[in-house]
Each structure stands twice: as structure tokens, then as C-alpha cells.
């Protein structure tokens, strides 16, 4: 299966601190890949590098075969990559609907068309009842859902999810997992997800990449990775398995 997202030898330093070092992995088209690792491993930095918020010091990032390292985030989004933020950034003064419309406008100039797209996405994420509520007044789980809805509305080829399950109750987590499975199987949406909630990672990922101190220490099928001694060592004390 062709790789939709290729990360090759990417490194990034911040004032002498190596956040990400020689990281390489692929996300095949139509698959869900999990990116895990202890806090501070460099996962969000990877996302920021892929999404264009930061520029890698070294390495190449390709989306659908075209190089995107050095592109601006909005250019990368138009090319088909959407991401959510770990610390959600809703458009606080706008309603849920308006928030999602901004995302939908990525693919259409018509606000009316965007409204229709947004209506569908809002339903998928279960936010239908809060359409006209201001984002500032939403609970955290709803804000997370909004974050995902907005990103989905941009009609991406690949969706980067940054710890979307954190803070959700198990039933909510299951709902999200089901949603992503559905989008993946029905629409072929490729997903790269940073997650600590192992329940979700194991349920969704076909492949897992493990990051530790900015380097990839393991990659492969979930069963294999979760038994890898190196991985167990870095997670020692974490009772998530």
C-alpha cells in the first residue's frame, strides 16, 4: 500500500535540546497509525513539523509523494492534511456551527455549501444539539469533539489527532473509536494519532510507532510493539497495558 505520509530522517532542535532526532516512519494510505511514547518524547513536535507549524532542521516530509516540509500550515491543510491541537483552540466567540463552517470553507467558496457540509459533520460528532451554542460555553469533551469536527470538515486525506481521547469517559471514547473506524473503513480516511489512552490505540491502530527521547524505538503491529522490551522499559511504571 502506498504511503500517504512519509517522514524521513526528520530532526529538530530547540536551543540545543534535541526534540526530535532522525525520526522516520510511514503512514500508508487508508490506515490508522498510532504514535505513542512517554511525555516529552517529541510526539507533538512531530505533529508540528508535519503540519508546518515548525520547520525541520533536517529531513524530508512527503504527503502523497509531494514534499511538504517548509510549507505553511494553511498550504498543508489545503493539500489534504488536517490536525487537531492537544490544547484545543476553539473559536470561542463563534458558535459550534460557525466553527465548523470555517473548516468546511477549505474546500468550497460557498458559505451555503459549507453550511451543509458542516451540518453533516456536526451530526457525525454528536454535536447536533449544540449547533448554535458558543464554543466558549462548551464542556471540554465537547470542545474536543468540535476540534475533530472542524478538522474533518476540511475534507482531509489524512487526519492528525493529538490526544483527542484525553479526558473522555469510556463510553465517549468508544463512540469516538467507532466514529474513526467508520470514517476509515467507509471513506478511506487515513489517520495518524497521538494517544495515551491505550484502549483507543489498540482498538484502532494497524501499526504503532513508539517515540522516546525524540527517537523511534519501535514500530510495527500493535501486538509486537506492546511486547517489545525496549518499549516496556520506557513505559515502566505505566500501568496502561
Amino acid at each position: 500500500m502506498a504511503a500517504l505520509l512519509e517522514v524521513v530522517g526528520v530532526s529538530k532542535r530547540f536551543s540545543g535540546l534535541k526534540a526530535v532526532e532522525q525520526v522516520s516512519f510511514n503512514v500508508p494510505e487508508g490506515e490508522i497509525v498510532g504514535l505513542i511514547g512517554p511525555n516529552g518524547a517529541g510526539k507533538t513536535t512531530c505533529f508540528n513539523l508535519i503540519a508546518g507549524v515548525q520547520r525541520p532542521d533536517q529531513g524530508v516530509i512527503k504527503l502523497g509523494g509531494a514534499r511538504i516540509d517548509g510549507w505553511r500550515p494553511d498550504q498543508i491543510c489545503r493539500a489534504g492534511l488536517a490536525r487537531t491541537f492537544q490544547l484545543v483552540k476553539p473559536f470561542a466567540g463563534l458558535t459550534v456551527m460557525e466553527n465548523v463552517i470555517v473548516g468546511a470553507l477549505n474546500r468550497t467558496n460557498s458559505v451555503r455549501a459549507a453550511q451543509q457540509i458542516s451540518g453533516r459533520v456536526i451530526q457525525q460528532l454528536g454535536l447536533e444539539g449544540k449547533r448554535d451554542q458558543r464554543a466558549a460555553s462548551l464542556t471540554l469533551p465537547d470542545r474536543k469533539r468540535l476540534e475533530v469536527a472542524r478538522a474533518l470538515a476540511t475534507a482531509p486525506r489524512i487526519l492528525l489527532l493529538d490526544e483527542v481521547m484525553a479526558g473522555l469517559r469510556p463510553t465517549e471514547t468508544d463512540h469516538m473509536v467507532a466514529l474513526f473506524q467508520d470514517l476509515n473503513q467507509r471513506l478511506g480516511l487515513t489517520i495518524l494519532m497521538i494517544e495515551h489512552v491505550m484502549r483507543a490505540v489498540m482498538a484502532l491502530s494497524r501499526q504503532i510507532v513508539v517515540l522516546h527521547h525524540g527517537q523511534v524505538i519501535a514500530a510495527g503491529a500493535p501486538e509486537a510493539v506492546t511486547r517489545d522490551p525496549a518499549v516496556l522499559e520506557c513505559y515502566l511504571g505505566e500501568d496502561a497495558l
Binding site: P73, D74, F85, K89, E98, I101, V102, N106
Partner: protein
């Protein structure tokens, strides 16, 4: 922008708006000359306030040097008229082009170099001051001695050259203010409008959703500048004299942002309400003070300052949002305000 203009506006809103328009149209028929000039002032501040509101209320960029664009529009049209007899209807295009270029220039410098927030505001102040000092030393526009337009007979209303009675100016200003209102209403529901609001709320999130920050910030700055300059054209032909010291002065810039702030940043009605409240109350205060016998310069401005202070402290979103709520006119899709 093929959406129907009145879609989403609640019924009472349409009725009230029509009533308001009717009242405004009839004012010259019943008002004295003095009240007419007050009306012109209100409309002027509503208009330039709306233009400033585009940048601040919609795109979140604080400009404290907007008098620059008023001045450029004013001087361009006036100078062309005085030196070449060019009608202001053509002169205004020169004014808009120059103001747009200036806005574009400032925007380019600011956005390319990441100058934002307070620093951006200071940059805008600096450019307005630059213009003030520059025009002071420019003989072709009269320098610090000023540029004077030939005062014409009030009886003849010459619309082509904008020479005429207060009534004529009133209708000109009313048309402009109404047009600005309609334009902003349409813009708010357009793709650009959504993108601007997104940039105001969270530039990083906006970027992650495909919004080209630089491009949309530039759009709003250039549009705001061009719109403001038209107000300057009317200013020049109404007052018939221009002095750099006054036209570009920072107090002008502060003055024109008072109405939208007090009325409500980011709302359509804010600038209008703000202009109305501020101007009428200030005039009333002036009258009262004169009646008591103290006629000292500065009273009006202290009043403005106190109003601004009170609004900033207790009504941070301006007067319009709570008013709209009370009148049940605050349908979200018609009028978005930034409540934080």
C-alpha cells in the same frame, strides 16, 4: 456572496431597520441646520467607525493610526480639485488607491515581520505621525499653513463637485453609511468574513484549517483603509480646509475609534449606536455647560474619556450587545459579537 441579504435577520430586526432608515431619510425635512450638522457628524463617525471596525472587530488587528487614511483620502481629492479642478468623484479613486497602498504597505511590513498586538498598534501610530510631519513640510498640499477649498454658495447643490448645503452632505453621508452597513453585513456572511473572525479568535487554529493568514489580514487592512479614505474625501469637501496638524493627529485616530468601541466592537450596529450616543450626549453636555456659563475647551474630550473608561470597565463588549439582547435582536447569524 449569493446568500440573500436578509436571511437570518429576525423579523423585528427588519422592521426596526426600515423604520430607522425612514427616520434618517426624513431628518433634513424637520431638523434645524444645527441639528443637521450634528446628524452629519454622527453619520461620519458611524461610517469611519464601521471601516475601522472591519479591521479590529472582524480581523482583530488594532489600528490606532486610522486618521492616516482619512487624511490621505482628504488630501488626495482636495489637492486634485484645488490644483486641477478634478471632481471629487474621480479624486476619490486616487484617494482610495493611495490609502489602500498605504494600508497595504503597513500591513505588509507588519504581517511579514510578525509585528502584532501592541507593537502593531504602535506601528500604526508611527505611520500616522510620519504622515502628519511629512504633509506639514509638503508645499504642494499647503504644508502646515493648510489646504483651502474655494467655499461655494450654499444655495446651489453641486453634487458633482460636492459643493452645497448641509442637506446635500447629510444625504451623501447617509448613503455612504447605509452602503457600508450593507457591505459589512454581506462580508460577515461571506467566506472572507468567516476567515476574518477565525483569525481574530485563534490565528493558529485558523491556519491549521487552511486560512492564509497573511492574505486575509492584508485584505482587511486594504479594504478598511480604502473605505476610511472615502470618509476623508467627504471630510475635506465639507470642512473646506485641511491642516496636517489636525487631520493626521493622534487625537483624530482616537476619536474615530470611540464610537465602535463604545457601541460594540465586531458588531454591525455598534459604530452607529456609539456614534449616536457619543455625539448627542457630547453636544448636550456642551449646551449644558455653555448654559451654565463655563465655556472651556476640553470638556467634551473629558466626557469622551470618561465614557470610554466606563464602557471599557463595565461594558467591555459595548452598548449594543446588551441592548440587542433586550430588544431580542441578537440572532447569532445576523450579528456576531466577540464576548470574551
Amino acid at each position: 456572496m449569493r446568500e440573500r441579504l436578509l436571511e437570518g435577520v429576525p423579523r423585528q430586526g427588519v422592521i426596526l431597520l426600515s423604520a430607522l432608515l425612514a427616520v434618517l431619510l426624513l431628518v433634513p425635512a424637520v431638523a434645524s441646520d444645527y441639528l443637521l450638522t450634528v446628524g452629519i457628524l454622527i453619520l461620519y463617525f458611524a461610517y469611519v467607525g464601521q471601516a475601522w471596525n472591519l479591521m479590529m472587530g472582524y480581523a482583530g488587528q488594532l489600528s490606532l493610526g486610522h486618521a492616516l487614511y482619512v487624511g490621505l483620502g482628504a488630501y488626495a481629492a482636495a489637492a486634485l480639485y484645488v490644483h486641477f479642478g478634478v471632481t471629487p468623484w474621480i479624486g476619490l479613486w486616487a484617494g482610495m488607491a493611495i490609502a489602500a497602498a498605504a494600508g497595504g504597505g503597513i500591513g505588509y511590513l507588519a504581517f511579514r515581520f510578525g509585528v502584532a498586538g501592541v507593537y502593531f498598534a504602535i506601528l500604526t501610530i508611527a505611520f500616522a505621525e510620519f504622515a502628519r510631519l511629512g504633509f506639514d513640510h509638503w508645499p504642494w498640499v499647503g504644508g502646515s499653513a493648510g489646504l483651502f477649498l474655494p467655499v461655494a454658495n450654499f444655495a446651489n447643490n453641486d453634487l458633482v463637485n460636492l459643493r452645497g448645503s448641509p442637506t446635500m452632505f447629510y444625504y451623501v453621508m447617509l448613503t455612504m453609511t447605509a452602503a457600508a452597513f450593507v457591505l459589512c453585513h454581506a462580508l460577515l456572511r461571506s467566506r472572507a468574513g468567516y476567515y476574518w473572525l477565525a483569525i481574530r479568535e485563534s490565528p493558529e487554529a485558523a491556519q491549521a484549517l487552511g486560512v492564509d493568514l497573511f492574505r486575509y489580514r492584508m485584505y482587511v487592512v486594504v479594504l478598511s483603509a480604502a473605505m476610511t479614505s472615502l470618509g476623508g474625501v467627504v471630510f475635506a469637501f465639507y470642512y473646506n480646509n485641511l491642516f496636517p496638524e489636525q487631520v493626521f493627529h493622534i487625537s483624530r485616530s482616537i476619536e474615530l475609534i470611540l464610537a465602535p468601541i463604545i457601541g460594540g466592537i465586531g458588531t454591525l450596529f455598534g459604530p452607529l449606536i456609539g456614534a449616536f450616543l457619543l455625539t448627542t450626549l457630547a453636544e448636550a453636555l456642551g449646551e449644558a455647560v455653555r448654559a451654565v456659563g463655563i465655556d472651556v475647551p476640553g470638556v467634551k474630550q473629558v466626557f469622551y474619556g470618561v465614557c470610554l473608561l466606563l464602557v471599557v470597565m463595565f461594558l467591555p463588549d459595548g452598548v449594543w450587545p446588551p441592548l440587542a439582547k433586550a430588544l431580542k435582536l441578537d440572532r447569532r447569524s445576523a450579528d456576531r459579537s466577540s464576548e470574551r
